[in-house]
């Protein structure tokens, strides 16, 4: 059985979307995670809850409100219009923003955990070795927390790939711009084209599984390295 051109387009678009989203997630998720890991502010719980909200809200609800907010009369829409960007729904970048919002907790939490696990000692050590805060981040935090960043990247990527309800709502199902694999599978199912649906789903399941397997295997190596000098009298 062969994939149709539409299917290939959907796969290509999905990979492009997921890569873009992952990159942006890492860029904005890292400072948030950093702040959450280090702060003693009483806002911490509040911000954590806010970041985690998308875990809980049904994607269609999120999509519905994002559609309104990003529309010409919504706050976001008026902002983007005043910036000369037009409105975002039905564009690739609209999808990117919605997906970033939706997958944020999947990226922030592993990075936060990894940074918390470093503790503040390595950073103090680096400071005594004349490393500026910026330098400390790149020479200490990033390399030590690498597995956390990797988990974050893979989860963010994979979750964007599987993202559906929001994409449907914000995307408008535009081929090559917003019609991603999950929507394509959905369309196949709705159109009773079950063979194609099965085929695409199988590809997706295998992809997800091996992505996950690889991070968990990597993480295990890391953990066992740390644990090796655990037991003490």
């Amino acid at each position: 059985m062969n994939l149709s051109n539409d299917d290939f387009d959907a796969i290509g678009l999905t990979l492009r979307l997921a890569s873009t989203v992952t990159l942006i997630l890492l860029i904005i998720g890292t400072p948030i995670a950093w702040w959450l890991a280090r702060t003693h502010s009483s806002w911490k719980g509040f911000i954590s809850a806010l970041v985690a909200m998308p875990l809980i809200l049904p994607p269609t609800v999120i999509g519905f409100y994002l559609l309104i907010a990003m529309g010409p009369n919504g706050y976001i829409g008026q902002l983007t219009q005043s910036l000369g960007l037009g409105i975002l729904p039905f564009t690739f970048w609209g999808l990117v923003i919605a997906s970033v919002f939706y997958s944020l907790p999947f990226v922030v939490q592993p990075i936060q955990n990894a940074i918390e696990a470093i503790g503040k000692r390595p950073l103090e050590v680096a400071a005594t070795l004349r490393a500026s805060p910026f330098d400390r981040f790149f020479s200490v935090v990033l390399p030590i927390a690498k597995p956390g960043f990797m988990t974050a990247a893979v989860l963010g990527f994979a979750h964007t790939v599987g993202e559906f309800g929001i994409v449907l709502m914000i995307g408008g199902n535009i081929p090559n711009e917003t019609r991603v694999i999950s929507v394509q599978i959905y369309d196949h199912v709705e159109a009773l084209e079950y063979a194609q649906a099965h085929y695409l789903s199988a590809i997706m399941v295998l992809f997800s599984f091996f992505a996950l397997l690889s991070i968990y295997t990597l993480q295990r190596k890391q953990v066992s390295m740390n644990i090796s000098n655990e037991r003490q009298g």
Binding site: L67, G71, I87, F90, G172, N173, I174, E190, A191, L192
Partner: protein, 241 residues
Amino acid sequence: HGQTVKVAVASNFIAPMKHIIREFKKENGHHISTAYGSSGKFYAQIKNGAPFDVFLSADQHKIQTLENEHLIVTGTRFTYAIGTLALWSNNTQFQPVNLAILTNNKFDKLALANPKIAPYGQAALDVINSLNLSTASAKKWVQGENIAQTYQFISSGNAEVGFVALSQVMQQRQNTPHSVFIIPKQLYRPILQDAALLSRGQNNQAALDFLAFIRSDKVTAIIESYGYHQPQNISLSESHQ
């Protein structure tokens, strides 16, 4: 009496269905339980043992497929409503709405339901093709999963204009005659919404009563008041495929 009928209803028919249920309950002691959703999903569910007695689909194709698979009671398939397609805009700059808007091609986004999975989308495509606009406008299409989503695209202002069901715009009071344009029938193949008695409702008196009720004049009037019309002159077996 006192039996229960479980009805699967296409989402686009929610509003008239709620009205019909109220009337149905007044007339007899049956209990009625309705599930709303997309016809494609109902098809998958019925194939996998869903406990529905009656299926009010949004199209004809799914009911026919079920018939071929012997999942409905033979001879019970009929068209309960014919949808009316409307062009709608929530943006005053595009009002009064008429076909010239389409041919002028001045809009940014044109909303329609996904033709592949939604009958109103198929009808919208017919209109576009009839007007020979498909190449000019294809890049501006935004497709909703169903007409409800299509409606949201327009009502939120993200698409300036789009094809919706007349039944939808009639429900919303704020719509003026200026904002709606009823598409001439000759521009698209009729949107036939079929219903049928499912195999598991075969011996359910409530199901039989409900199907009979749907076809009563009273209900016909209700359905029409929501912007649909009835297949007075169209034979049951008429097919468009």
